[in-house]
């Protein structure tokens, strides 16, 4: 008995063991418990469903499952959104790999012009919020049939854009694909760039023809990067909410996320919870496939080497035309969207692209009453805008503080006890939020914290629930970077402190944190920027009281206040770019390097 007690005492005398136990308790509450809570929620009656189920709130029912899988609404509630989600995600992969992969090849293997400049701009869509391109598309191609006014394209050419081109499937695919193209570029380009030139030289010496070499050597070697791009883009596209919301909704084109949003905001949250579970299942399957692919026999770890002299492919007479084409595409992805936002926010009447129609009213004008063309004050005068901006910054700050700190501590304790069961358990627990699509996670939190039961408080409508879910969602990101940085730091460095009798807190603050300064900063930076431009994670949980900038944008867009939504969007982008730029300058850590996390 005494022995066991001593053993427990020794166990808890190590700070990292205390941390690990704390993590298990907290994550169990914040990550595991909600998973059960959502299952329960698919079987009960919610308050907004009283009128359709005619049973008391909280009683057991199979209504939701029946409705989703067996009723006549099956097609519109489940089959179509599921099909649309899978289809748009798959094609988005194709687009992003084609665009990003070609760009990667041109940059690393050809003599294309203006490489440095183009790569900087090409990364842009990744830093900007995911709906940037969607809104720009709308500004450019919207047609009078659906929105009541035509876009920039019409005013330039006089042509009316067909609806299939302006809304729904096609633009969702293109926009999502372009948004993730930088991903493909970074992953594929990374391999192409680091790929050992000897591998190709060896093939040249063995008399391999150029085309055969491309197909048999180059392509197979970049294949792992292509696969991981597919996984990332596919799961990203599956989880994306803003793009299908902006481009699909006008033509009633639903994907899983938008259907989920509609159900939970509408009169049947139970169905929404089931959809959330379906999304989690799909995401787990993708992860599983990914694991299988990575674990194959052909290890590519040996691929990289010193590639002092990669043979550059000369584009010949195509050099200038290709460079110009790429320049054009890159401009469309990065600069032109911003121009359209600025332009649209200055139009007195939407759809009229005339110099006389420009006004700063939507930025700095006063409100003119309800039924006028400007029902609200310009966004720089608008107290609501400042309030949401402040809310956004506060939320991002809290989330990054929470995720960054917990991530660092998790990384520290996981690495110190590496190989043990408890450490692996914590590592897996911190990874779970990554598996759950944002929208599904917020559905889970909604179900869990909507009312007080047992030890769980009611947090709906509070700032705390937003902070909580942001912290949990970005924890995988931060803890991964924590683990990676701690792995590079040999335990001897801390042990040297232990031997000299330095207490734990001092070891952390005086030894480990100073050494890991830059990685810790980027551990805070990534959640901050992500939270700043996050919509799908918060949109279900936000109420009028705790609105943030991104949901304000959605609110304006849904109301059809084009000028306001464009102005707010520009505001978000400027804030994100400013923060990214400042931190990059200050620490050298950049968001591009965090890709893949």
């Amino acid at each position: 008995m005494k022995k066991r007690w001593n053993r427990i005492k020794t166990f808890f005398s190590k700070p990292y063991n205390v941390l690990l136990v704390l993590f298990i308790v907290v994550l169990g509450f914040l990550v595991v418990l909600p998973l059960f809570s959502i299952v329960r929620d698919t079987f009960i009656v919610h308050s907004s469903e009283k009128s359709r189920i005619h049973q008391a709130v909280g009683t057991f029912t199979t209504y939701h499952w029946n409705r989703l899988f067996l009723s006549e609404f099956r097609k519109s509630l489940l089959i179509d959104p599921l099909r649309n989600s899978l289809l748009t995600s798959a094609w988005a992969c194709v687009v992003s790999i084609f665009v990003g992969g070609s760009f990667a090849w041109l940059v690393s293997r050809s003599d294309m012009r203006w490489k440095k400049f183009l790569t900087k701009l090409f990364i842009f869509p990744y830093i900007m919020p995911s709906w940037t391109l969607a809104l720009a598309w709308k500004n450019f191609f919207k047609n009078v049939e659906i929105t009541g006014s035509n876009g920039i394209f019409h005013s330039l050419t006089g042509l009316t854009v067909p609806t299939w081109f302006a809304y729904g499937e096609f633009p969702i695919i293109v926009v999502t694909g372009l948004h993730y193209a930088p991903f493909a570029y970074i992953l594929i380009g990374g391999i192409l760039h680091n790929m050992d030139a000897n591998l190709e030289e060896a093939a040249v010496i063995l008399k391999t023809k150029r085309l055969r070499m491309f197909w048999r050597i180059t392509i197979p070697i970049v294949m792992p990067a292509v696969l991981s791009t597919i996984i990332l883009v596919f799961s990203g596209a599956m989880a994306s909410f803003a793009t299908p919301q902006f481009l699909g909704l006008p033509v009633r084109y639903y994907v899983l996320t938008t259907e989920l949003y509609a159900s939970i905001n509408g009169t049947n949250p139970g169905v929404g919870y089931i959809l959330a579970m379906i999304m989690i299942v799909i995401s787990v399957i993708i992860m599983f496939v990914n694991q299988r692919l990575i674990g194959s026999r052909k290890s590519y770890a040996t691929v990289t080497g010193k590639s002092a002299n990669i043979s550059i492919f000369h584009l010949g007479i195509w050099r200038t035309p290709i460079s110009i084409l790429v320049f054009f595409v890159v401009m469309c992805m990065s600069v032109i969207p911003l121009v359209t936002f600025a332009l649209e926010s200055l139009l007195a009447y939407t759809g009229v692209y005339d110099f006389n129609n420009l006004t700063l009213s939507f930025w700095i004008g006063r409100a003119q009453g309800h039924d006028t063309w400007q029902s609200e004050p310009g966004i720089l005068r608008n107290r609501e805008v400042y309030r949401t901006l402040w809310n956004s910054l506060k939320l991002s700050f809290v989330c990054s503080l929470g995720a960054g700190t917990l991530g660092f501590l998790a990384g520290y304790s996981i690495v110190r006890r590496r190989g043990s069961f408890i450490s692996r358990l914590v590592e897996d627990l911190t990874f779970i939020p990554y598996l759950i699509p944002s929208m599904a996670l917020s559905a889970i939190y909604l179900s869990m914290f909507s009312s007080k039961h047992g030890i769980i408080p009611s947090l709906y409508g509070s700032f705390a629930i937003l902070a909580l879910i942001g912290t949990v969602k970005y924890l995988p990101m931060a803890s991964r970077s924590g683990v990676n940085s701690m792995l590079q730091l040999s335990p001897e460095i801390e042990e040297a402190g232990i031997v000299m009798g330095v207490p734990w807190v001092k070891r952390m603050t005086r030894i480990i944190i100073p050494i890991e300064k830059t990685t810790i900063v980027s551990g805070y930076l990534l959640p901050f920027i992500s939270a700043m431009r996050e919509l799908s994670l918060f949109v279900i949980l936000v109420t009028a009281n705790n609105r943030i900038l991104t949901t304000l944008l959605l609110f304006y867009d849904e109301k059809g206040y084009t000028q306001f939504s464009n102005a707010v969007n520009l505001l978000i982008i400027i804030v994100v770019l400013l923060i990214n730029f400042t931190v990059e300058k200050l620490t050298g850590a950049s968001i591009e390097k965090g890709v893949g996390g």
């Binding site: 050992d196 000897n198 591998l199 030289e201 060896a202 093939a203 040249v204 010496i205 063995l206 008399k207 391999t208 023809k209 055969r212 048999r216 050597i217 197979p220 070697i221 294949m223 026999r297 052909k298 290890s299 590519y300 770890a301 040996t302 691929v303 080497g305 002299n309």
Partner: protein, 371 residues
């Protein structure tokens, strides 16, 4: 089987950095030539220029009488037309192909019939002792096995010239020794011309029929290894070859008939050139003494033992005559007490006399201590 000839080959990277400077050398048919030198001396660049992977800035390269590169005539034969094999330092095995596929890939390119390819793969795998790994992927092999697969892949098409870029540097010491013997055997069996890049002087010594020692892009000496060891052209060559390295003693020399009296400040000795040479009456010299020619015996100069490192077969000593420190090798299992006194003397006629100003070798000769 070709003889490779390099004429005034120069390679410049960017502005002002000469990797290889006016290199002239001839690699005869069937030779095993090592390109040796410290890192960054241009040896790998030279090899890659022979292969055609690197384009020289100036000069000409011939395979027999066929010009494969000439900047003047505008000829630059691509690597696949030069009939060479190239062994890369990091093996460059294709990670997505099995061992079998790695080896047969090149043969397929050459449109060999299927059954011949199979036979050749089997044969070469047997020679390289990798038969049981034929269906494995490179990542599933150890370093030594990967190395053998790389050799098999390179040898499979029977190249007439085999170019190797530090192929053993990624192996551990024991494996490296085994592979050296194997390479030497391979050279004999294939009868091909081998050109071998290394920075390891003992590897060059033990393997090659001829060594080309390069420093900063300039060829220092090109001759059989033992000659390079025994009769180095200059102090750099002398210093680069041998371990422990040669002792260099600065001295002032006065001519006395056909002998030279060398004054080292600590002792005076008489140097007798093996062949009569023409030197000024007085001159500053550097005397080069290989450790094995410093004899530890019962008479001669008194020296203090600074360190003694017995390795069983021989013992490497550092002895000091006042501030002149010499390394010496005593054969057999003996140890010397630190700080003890020993006597040393010189015998034989393998002592090298360098001119201090130019660092060039003047002659070899014998040495007798006078005082």
């Amino acid at each position: 089987m070709p003889t490779i000839k390099l004429v005034n080959v120069t390679k410049q990277f960017g502005k002002g950095s000469l990797a290889v400077d006016k290199l002239n050398m001839e690699i005869k048919n069937g030779e095993f030539v090592s390109l040796l030198g410290p890192s960054g001396c241009g040896k790998t660049t030279t090899l890659r220029m022979i292969a055609g992977l690197e384009t020289p800035t100036e000069g000409e390269i011939y395979f027999d009488d066929v010009c494969v590169f000439s900047d003047e005539k505008g000829i630059n034969l691509s690597p696949d037309k030069r009939n060479i094999g190239f062994l890369f330092q990091n093996y460059a095995l294709w990670p997505h192909m099995t061992v079998r596929k790695n080896i047969s890939f090149g043969l397929e390119n050459m449109k060999w019939p299927k059954d011949q390819i199979e036979a050749r793969v089997d044969e070469i795998c047997k020679t390289m002792r990798i038969e049981e790994y034929k269906d494995r992927y490179p990542a599933e092999l150890s370093g030594g096995q990967q190395q053998r697969v790389a050799i098999a892949r390179t040898l499979a098409p029977n190249p007439k010239v085999l170019l190797m870029d530090e192929p053993l540097s990624n192996l551990d010491a024991k494996l490296r020794n085994d592979m050296r013997a194997e390479l030497k055997r391979l050279h004999l069996n294939t009868g091909s011309t081998f050109v071998y890049v290394t920075h390891d002087q003992s590897e060059a010594m033990t393997l090659s029929t001829k060594v080309a020692l390069i420093k900063l892009g300039i060829l220092q000496q090109y001759c059989p290894p033992l000659q390079l060891y025994g009769e180095p052209n200059n102090i750099f060559c002398a210093d680069f070859m041998g371990n422990p390295s040669m002792n260099f003693v600065e001295c002032h020399g006065k001519k006395e008939g056909d002998k030279i009296i060398l004054n080292t400040k600590r002792f005076i000795c008489e140097f007798t050139p093996n062949e009569p040479i023409d030197v000024p009456e007085e001159n500053e010299y550097v005397l080069g003494i290989r450790p094995e020619f410093v004899n530890v015996s019962n008479d001669g100069l008194t020296a203090t033992v600074i360190s003694s490192l017995p390795s069983g077969m021989e013992t490497t000593l550092s002895v000091a005559i006042d501030d002149i420190v010499l390394s010496a090798v005593a054969f057999g299992s003996i140890d010397f007490a630190m700080d003890s006194e020993v006597k040393i003397n010189f015998s034989g006629n393998r002592y090298v006399l360098f001119d201090k100003a130019s660092t060039n070798k003047l002659t070899l000769g014998s040495l007798k201590v006078i005082q």
